[in-house]
């Protein structure tokens, strides 16, 4: 095809070249003639201008020295123009003959100007002047004649030359026209032929490429010949097949890759999900110990916005204690790993957490250590619980100790109180002794209150409730707490304050704690205000407890106040702001109020003071509390079996019972008591009642003895006594078969009343 195109183009070019060359050759011979014509035309034009100018200047000759004379400057300008015209053609390449004639004209112009000037400037007689004028006129006429002559011969020459040249130019036109026509026909012939040769294979190619574009890979064409198109068709077919095979291969590969990527993404998502939900910190550092990767949980645990804030920092920098950090790094470098290493890590906000770290070095493919990686587990809660557990255990053992002491102390008090009472009975005629003994009795009562508080603290047990007015208790407990302090107390308690069902001992503790807190809040002294009022809580109330009637007790101080952020925590166990506080006071208060179905609240303003408000369900519909019976001793009759492991108690109570008119048998434990009871029952002198201490050291206590007694005698009338009120029996003594309960130390009036009731069947 290339050869065909080249040959066609060559033929066209040859035809055009021959035609043009012929025209050019013919034309070139005319060019010099044309130049001559142009020169002649130029000369002719100049000559005409020259003649006009000469005529113009000649006219001046006849007006010089007359009023019609032109301005000399004008004449000079004309003269200059005349000379300029005569010199204009000197650069042309005129034939020598013509050149010489032009020079002749220039010389004549010069002479004419000189003559003209001489004539114009001269002042002479008429003869001389006329001579000068004639001289100028003659030179002017000569100039005109010469110019006219030149013009005539030039015109003739020009005419001949022009007609000759025009004829030749016609011939050139003919040659060019012929050339164009031949070239045109040849060109059409070539174009038609070439178009046919090109368009057919191209159409087929276009068709095939369209099919490939529409997705039919592997489409081929059937064109075959020896030209480039034949070769192109062959290559196209090969290319199409290659594309089809390649496409198939790529598609297969893409499918495999897609599946792999999907699996990888799923795996990554799973892994990410695991990491996101992880409660432990996973980390990895470089050789220098700088964090290069850390799990998202780390930011959350250490309270950073994102893990970006953690990366590039030294892992060891997060240790709160430099000593611990040193220890960790040393252990890691010595052993290559660290197991269950407990340390405090510092969080972003400055607080710390306790973590258990398991870490080890990791290596690259070549076995070179790349850095360290590990897991930190937050064990702060666990450690706290452990600590609390230890504290609780400690408190429990303290409670047991306190309970034991209280028990023994109560036994002692029982003996003392009993003996004082007996002494009072013996010396009832002597007022002075009676007064002394009464004081001693009062002191014993206070001692009993103290042991009761000790017991409540130790057990925090179930309240032993009774319906009572709290008014008096508020006063006495507060004043008891105020002892030895520089704080005074004001009360505002209405006369008609409703009754409440409370454990007096526990409530004492509540009031004692609150007043003690108020005193400690006012180290420089001040006034505590205690108020009590009856309130009804409706459905609309914002208070978080059910509707009903309540009494509200408020204990307000003028102390330093409690910071807002502590207010929610003050009832938590072990929370304290005091250096020596146990953190149990308000916690047990809260617990006691809660056990009474009540509610405690606190309000505080820094610098102004704190107010604790207690709400206790009120007994409104009950009859007012009966007037306290006057302390009288009721004497009785009958056989009483007394059991107590404390000899002095046994002796004193025995004496007291005898004083009351009863016959008494003393036993030291349950076994002894059961034996005596059995014996007496079998004999004709059974016991009318049994009084047993619930706690017998190294022996059968009241509860067990009671169970056994009931098998011997289901109708046995028994009274339980205890100096240790933690015992659950106390609250529900009837459930265990007891007819009554008396807590040690007790007074003779109390004992006589209880025995009277039990024996008469009232209790």
């Amino acid at each position: 095809m290339k050869r065909k195109i080249l040959f066609s183009l060559f033929a066209l070019f040859l035809c055009l070249t021959i035609g043009t060359a012929t025209a050019v050759l013919y034309m070139s011979s005319n060019i010099s003639e044309l130049k001559n014509i142009v020169n002649l035309q130029e000369v002719e034009q100049l000559r005409k201008s020259l003649i006009i100018e000469i005529h113009d200047v000649q006219a001046e000759l006849y007006t010089v020295n007359t009023p019609y004379a032109s301005d000399l400057d004008l004449i000079v300008r004309k003269g200059v123009k005349l000379e300029e015209i005569s010199h204009q053609c000197t650069t042309c390449h005129h034939p020598p003959k013509l050149q010489s004639r032009i020079e002749n004209v220039q010389s004549l112009v010069h002479d004419y100007k000189t003559a003209l000037s001489f004539y114009i400037t001269a002042s002479a007689n008429v003869e001389t002047t006329e001579r000068l004028k004639l001289d100028a006129v003659l030179k002017g006429n000569n100039l005109i004649n010469l110019t006219n002559e030149m013009s005539h011969s030039a015109s003739k020459n020009l005419e001949g030359l022009t007609s000759d040249t025009m004829r030749r130019l016609n011939n050139v036109t003919k040659i060019l026209l012929l050339t164009i026509m031949i070239t045109f026909f040849l060109g059409v012939l070539v174009a038609v032929n070439l178009t046919r040769s090109i368009t057919r294979p191209i159409n087929e190619l276009v068709q095939a490429t369209r099919m490939i574009t529409s997705g039919e890979f592997g489409s081929t064409i059937e064109y075959e010949d020896a030209t480039e198109f034949g070769e192109l068709a062959e290559h196209f077919n090969t290319m199409s097949t290659t594309i089809r095979d390649g496409y198939q291969k790529i598609r297969n590969e893409m499918e495999v890759r897609k599946k792999t990527e999907e699996a990888l993404r799923e795996s990554e998502e799973k892994l990410q999900s695991v990491f996101n939900q992880m409660q432990d910190i996973f980390y990895r550092t470089d050789r220098e110990g700088r964090i290069i990767w850390v799990s998202p949980s780390a930011a959350k645990i250490l309270r950073y916005e994102s893990t970006d804030e953690l990366t590039d920092r030294y892992f060891s920098d997060f240790f709160a204690s430099p000593r611990k950090r040193q220890g960790f790094l040393q252990e890691l470098s010595e052993k290559g790993n660290v197991s269950n290493y407990e340390a405090e890590l510092r969080r972003n906000d400055g607080s710390t957490i306790i973590v258990s770290i398991n870490s080890h070095y990791y290596e690259n493919k070549n076995g070179k250590i790349e850095g360290e990686q590990g897991v930190c587990r937050d064990i702060t809660e666990r450690k706290k619980l452990e600590e609390e557990h230890v504290k609780l255990e400690k408190m429990e053992s303290l409670g047991i100790l306190a309970g034991g002491i209280a028990h023994d102390f109560n036994n002692l008090l029982t003996t003392i109180v009993g003996n004082i009472k007996l002494a009072k009975i013996s010396f009832d005629h002597d007022e002075k002794i009676t007064e002394i003994l009464t004081d001693a009795e009062e002191a014993c009562r206070r001692a009993r209150d103290l042991t009761n508080q000790l017991l409540t603290f130790s057990k925090g047990g179930k309240p032993i409730k009774k319906i009572t007015s709290i008014a008096e208790q508020l006063r006495s407990s507060a004043l008891f707490a105020l002892r030895g302090s520089n704080v005074i107390c004001q009360f505002s308690i209405p006369e008609n304050l409703w009754l409440v069902e409370i454990d007096e001992g526990q409530m004492n503790q509540v009031i004692y704690n609150l007043v003690l807190n108020a005193i400690q809040a006012m180290p420089k002294g001040g006034t505590i205000m205690i108020t009590a009022e009856n309130i009804s809580i409706g459905l609309q109330s914002r208070l978080p407890f059910s509707e009903g009637t309540y009494i509200k007790i408020k204990v307000s101080d003028q102390g330093i106040g409690i910071p807002k952020e502590y207010l929610q925590k003050i009832f938590d166990p072990y929370f304290t702001t005091k250096q020596k506080g146990s953190g149990l006071g308000l916690a047990s208060t809260y617990s006691i109020i809660n056990n009474h179905n009540g509610y405690i609240d606190v309000e505080s303003t820094i610098g102004t003071g704190t107010t604790f408000s207690i709400y206790l369900p009120a007994i409104k519909d009950r009859l007012p509390h009966e007037e306290k019976k006057p302390a009288i001793i009721i004497k009785g009759k009958g056989r009483i079996l007394l059991m107590d492991d404390d000899d002095t108690v046994l002796m004193t109570v025995g004496k007291t019972l005898k004083q009351l008119g009863y016959e008494v048998e003393l036993t030291k434990d349950g076994t002894e008591a059961l034996e005596s009871y059995k014996k007496a029952k079998e004999s004709s002198k059974p016991f009318d009642a049994v009084m047993m201490d619930l706690t017998i050291r190294n022996g059968m206590g009241g509860k067990e003895t009671m169970e056994k007694l009931r098998t011997i005698d289901p109708h046995v009338k028994a009274i339980a006594s205890s100096g240790y009120s933690a015992d659950s029996i106390i609250a529900d003594f009837k459930q265990y078969g007891f007819a009554g309960f008396i807590s040690k130390p007790f007074e003779i009036e109390e004992l006589s009343d209880l025995l009277n009731n039990v024996l008469s069947g009232k209790s």
């Binding site: 400057d73 003269g79 000037s117």
Partner: protein, 289 residues
């Protein structure tokens, strides 16, 4: 204050020397075409360097320049020595500069010439001959020969000579003798020298019989009323032409070496020659008769 004054003076000067349009007259010292041709490049140069538009106007008579100075609204002229002297006296013209000819002189002098073959050797030989003056208002072309003839015993030229006339220009007078249209001619040396360079006949066929004292060459003088700055600019340009390559070229075309300053006193020799000729300048009739 000092700077302020300097600035003020600068602005005043620059204001005064602001471009003007000057019409300068030319006397027909030679063929009027050649005269215009000779001065045109000089005028263009002054115009280019000073910014003042220069227009030349040629006069057909020497004396006309004095009479028509105001009519033709001329601002100045390249004055001949005689017309210059008259202009200083009558028109109060201020002379600025004049050229130094190629021979090194800033002056010229007059010749009385005859053809070698005329046989005229002195004034006596001239009796009954024809005489070509240049102009009545020229030093070389009239005043000097009149003084010369008077000093050599000619009391009346009208009777002494067969004929006399005023050729109007120096070259016309010269060629009148050379072409035997007059026997005696008056011409200035500078014109003779310039024409002789192109026409050897002048040196070969002519002979000088008398020579006048030196008078200043044709210099430029302007009206007194022309702004000081304009005059100063033009004078400076003319005096500095020699040092400027472009100016140097113009000077060559003009046929001079440089321009020199001209004063009124330079014209004293003219008055002396006139005195010798018995001419009183105050009431001298310089129109040809």
């Amino acid at each position: 204050m000092k700077y302020f004054l300097a600035l003020l003076i600068f602005f005043m000067l620059s204001g005064i020397s602001h471009s003007a349009e000057l019409t300068i007259g030319l006397i027909p010292e030679q063929n009027v075409f050649k005269q215009v041709e000779r001065y045109k490049p000089l005028g263009d140069y002054i115009e280019k360097k000073t910014g003042n538009k220069i227009t030349f106007t040629i006069l057909s008579r020497y004396g006309n320049i004095l009479d028509n100075f105001h009519n033709k609204k001329l601002d100045g002229a390249f004055w001949g020595s005689f017309t210059g002297a008259m202009a200083i006296k009558k028109l109060g013209i201020e002379m600025l500069a004049r050229p130094v000819n190629n021979d090194g002189n800033s002056t010229y002098w007059g010749y009385i010439v005859v053809r070698k073959d005329s046989g005229i050797k002195n004034v006596q030989d001239m009796k009954g001959k024809s005489l070509a003056f240049v102009e009545q208002a020229t030093t070389a072309g009239y005043i000097f020969p009149m003084a010369y003839f008077k000093e050599h015993g000619v009391s009346n030229i009208k009777t002494y000579f067969k004929e006399y006339y005023f050729a109007g220009s120096h070259d016309a007078a010269l060629y009148a003798v050379l072409d035997i249209k007059a026997d005696v001619g008056c011409v200035k040396n500078s014109m003779l020298d310039r024409l002789a360079e192109k026409d050897p006949r002048i040196k070969n066929e002519l002979v000088v019989l008398a020579q006048s004292p030196e008078v200043p060459s044709n210099g430029l003088g302007l009206r007194k009323e022309i702004a000081f700055g304009v005059k100063a600019d033009i004078k400076r340009v003319l005096l500095e032409m020699e040092g400027d390559p472009e100016g140097k070229k113009i000077l060559e075309q003009f046929g001079a070496l440089r321009f020199v300053e001209t004063k009124d006193s330079d014209y004293t020799p003219v008055f002396e020659i006139a005195k010798r000729a018995g001419i009183t300048l105050e009431n001298y009739e310089y129109i040809n008769k």
